[in-house]
C-alpha cells in the first residue's frame, strides 16, 4: 500500500501541465448499455495515470452499480469506461461543440468525468495530501440545452477532499468514495431514460438522484456549487413529475409492470413521495 501511494505521489511530482485533447473513446459494447467516460485528469502522467484510470474503473464498476436503479441488478445498465489519452480542457470548452455532444448522446454516454489532481502540503506540518477538482459533464442535460430545451447546468464541478475530512493520499479513493458520482449518474441516467420513454425506470432514478443531491447540498460546498446542485435536484424532481404525468396519460397496457401501476397513483406535485 505504501509503495503504491509513493508511486502515485511520484507520478504527481513528475507530472507536467496537462495538455487538453479530445480523442475518441468507445462506449460500452451492447445495444442496451449506457456508459460513463472516465477521462484523464491533469496532474498525473505515465504509469501512475494508467494505474489511476484502471483502478478507478475497477473500483467504480465493482462498488457503484447498486447506487442507481438497474433493469436487472445482475446485469447493470451503466458501465464505466476508462479513456486513456482523452483529456478535456479543465474549463469544459471542448464540449461547446454540439456535434461532439450529439455523438456522445446518441451513443448513450451519460457522463464524462475528468479533472485536475494536485499535491497539497498538509497544514501545520502534517503529511501532504491529494486534492482534486473534478468535473462531471451530464451529457443528456447538455444535449437538451443544445436543443434549446429547459435544462440545468450540465457541467458540475466539485473539489475534494471536503473541508474537515482527513487528507487522502490515494487518488482513486479520493474520487471514487463520495456519493456524488452516484447522484450525477442517477440524474443523467434518469433523464436519458425519460427521453427514451422508459418511464418507470426513469422515475426511480430521478427520485434517487433528487435524494442523493439533497444530501450533497447539505455538505460544506461553495455557494456556486450548492446552487448548481440545487438546480439539478429541482430539475430531477420536475423530470420525475413529468414521468408520472406521462404514465398517467398513457392507456393501461395488459400485464402492465407493477412499478408503472404504482405511478398511476402517484401525485405529480410530489413525484417522489412514498
Amino acid at each position: 500500500m505504501r509503495a503504491i501511494t509513493l508511486a502515485w505521489l511520484g507520478g504527481l511530482c513528475l507530472a507536467l501541465p496537462a495538455r487538453a485533447a479530445i480523442v475518441d473513446c468507445q462506449p460500452a459494447a451492447g445495444a442496451q448499455k449506457f456508459t460513463v467516460f472516465l477521462s484523464e485528469p491533469g496532474g498525473l502522467q505515465g504509469a501512475a495515470l494508467q494505474h489511476f484510470l484502471t483502478d478507478l474503473q475497477f473500483q467504480l464498476d465493482q462498488s457503484r452499480d447498486g447506487q442507481w436503479i438497474n433493469r436487472d441488478p445482475r446485469r447493470p445498465d451503466v458501465q464505466f469506461v476508462a479513456c486513456p489519452g482523452r483529456a478535456p480542457a479543465l474549463d469544459g470548452q471542448d464540449f461547446s461543440n454540439p456535434t461532439l455532444i450529439d455523438g456522445l448522446y446518441s451513443r448513450r454516454v451519460l457522463m464524462e468525468v475528468w479533472g485536475q489532481l494536485s499535491l497539497e502540503a498538509g497544514a501545520g506540518g502534517a503529511a501532504p495530501g491529494l486534492s482534486a477538482q473534478m468535473n462531471y459533464l451530464l451529457v443528456p442535460m447538455q444535449f437538451a440545452a443544445n436543443q434549446r430545451e429547459a435544462a440545468p447546468a450540465a457541467l458540475q464541478r466539485l473539489r475534494y477532499p471536503e473541508q474537515g475530512t482527513a487528507a487522502e493520499r490515494d487518488p482513486v479513493q479520493l474520487i471514487s468514495r463520495p456519493l456524488d458520482l452516484d447522484a450525477f449518474v442517477a440524474a443523467a441516467y434518469g433523464f436519458k431514460l425519460l427521453r427514451e420513454r422508459q418511464l418507470g425506470l426513469a422515475h426511480s432514478n430521478l427520485c434517487r438522484a433528487a435524494a442523493l443531491l439533497a444530501g450533497m447540498s447539505e455538505r460544506t460546498l461553495g455557494a456556486r456549487g450548492r446552487a448548481g446542485l440545487e438546480e439539478l435536484r429541482d430539475f430531477s424532481l420536475q423530470s420525475a413529475a413529468q414521468a408520472v404525468r406521462a404514465v398517467q396519460a398513457q392507456p393501461r397496457a395488459p400485464g402492465e409492470d407493477k412499478g408503472l401501476s404504482a405511478l398511476r397513483l402517484q401525485l405529480a406535485a410530489t413525484p417522489c413521495s412514498k
Binding site: 442496451q32 471542448d94 461532439l100
Partner: protein, 229 residues
C-alpha cells in the same frame, strides 16, 4: 388604236428591243464556284477534313481521360496519408483538419468521406465536417451522391443518416427531396411500431427507439422544410 403604219412602227421598235443582247448572268457564290472547280475531288477533300477534325477531337478526349486517370492515381496516393490520419485516432481538431484537406481534392474525395461517415465517434464527426466543406465546393456532386446513404442497406447507422439528412437540407439539395420523402416514410412506419423495413436499412437497430424515431422524423421534416423554404 393608230393607223397601220403606226402599229407597224411600234412592232418594229419592239422587235429591235427584243433583239438587243441579253443581260450578263449574276456571279455564282464562291462555294458553288469552288465545288465546280474541285469537281470529282470534292468528296475526297471533305472526307479528309472530317477525319482531321474527328482525329483532333478524339486525341484531346483520350489525352484528357489519360490525364484524369493519372490525376486520380496521384490523388489516391496523396489521400491515403490523410485517410490514415483519420483512422489513426487523433484528437478532434487534427481529424477535422485531415477531413477538410481531404475535401479539397474535390469529387475524388467523396467516396472516401462517405466511407468514413460510417464510423461512429470522432471519425464520423470529422467526415461530416469534410462533406460539409466539399458540399460548399461541389454541391452538385455531393447532392447527387449523399442520398444513397439513405437507401443503402446495412451500411450506415441511424446517426450517420440523420446527419446526412440535415446536410442535404442545409445545402439545398432539391434533387434529394424524393429520397428524403422515402426515408421519412420508413421512419414514420417504424415510429408507428413497424420497424422491420427501417431496421433492415440501418447497420444495427437503434437503442432507445422511442426517442430515436421522433428525432429522425424531426430532422427529416426540418430538412424538407429547408428545401421548400
Amino acid at each position: 388604236m393608230g393607223s397601220v403604219e403606226e402599229r407597224l412602227a411600234r412592232l418594229e421598235g419592239l422587235v429591235i428591243a427584243a433583239g438587243a443582247s441579253p443581260p450578263a448572268p449574276a456571279p455564282r457564290p464562291w462555294p458553288a464556284r469552288f465545288a465546280a472547280w474541285m469537281g470529282a475531288e470534292l468528296p475526297k477533300l471533305l472526307a479528309a477534313a472530317v477525319l482531321l477534325v474527328l482525329g483532333f477531337a478524339l486525341k484531346d478526349s483520350v489525352d484528357l481521360a489519360i490525364r484524369q486517370r493519372q490525376l486520380d492515381l496521384s490523388y489516391s496516393k496523396e489521400m491515403q496519408g490523410l485517410l490514415l490520419q483519420l483512422s489513426g485516432g487523433g484528437a478532434l481538431p487534427q481529424l477535422q483538419s485531415a477531413a477538410v484537406v481531404l475535401a479539397s481534392y474535390g469529387v475524388a474525395a467523396l467516396p472516401a468521406l462517405m466511407s468514413e461517415l460510417r464510423y461512429p465517434g470522432l471519425r464520423g464527426d470529422a467526415a461530416l465536417e469534410g462533406l460539409n466543406v466539399l458540399a460548399l465546393r461541389e454541391p452538385e456532386a455531393v447532392c447527387t451522391a449523399l442520398p444513397r446513404v439513405l437507401a443503402l442497406r446495412g451500411q450506415y447507422d441511424w446517426l450517420a443518416q440523420q446527419r446526412v439528412v440535415l446536410l442535404l437540407g442545409q445545402h439545398g439539395c432539391t434533387q434529394a427531396r424524393a429520397a428524403l420523402q422515402r426515408y421519412r416514410a420508413l421512419v414514420a412506419e417504424a415510429a408507428q411500431g413497424r420497424p422491420a423495413a427501417f431496421e433492415a436499412l440501418v447497420r444495427e437497430p437503434p437503442a432507445g427507439p422511442q426517442e430515436v424515431y421522433p428525432r429522425l422524423l424531426k430532422s427529416v421534416d426540418a430538412a424538407l422544410a429547408m428545401l421548400d423554404g
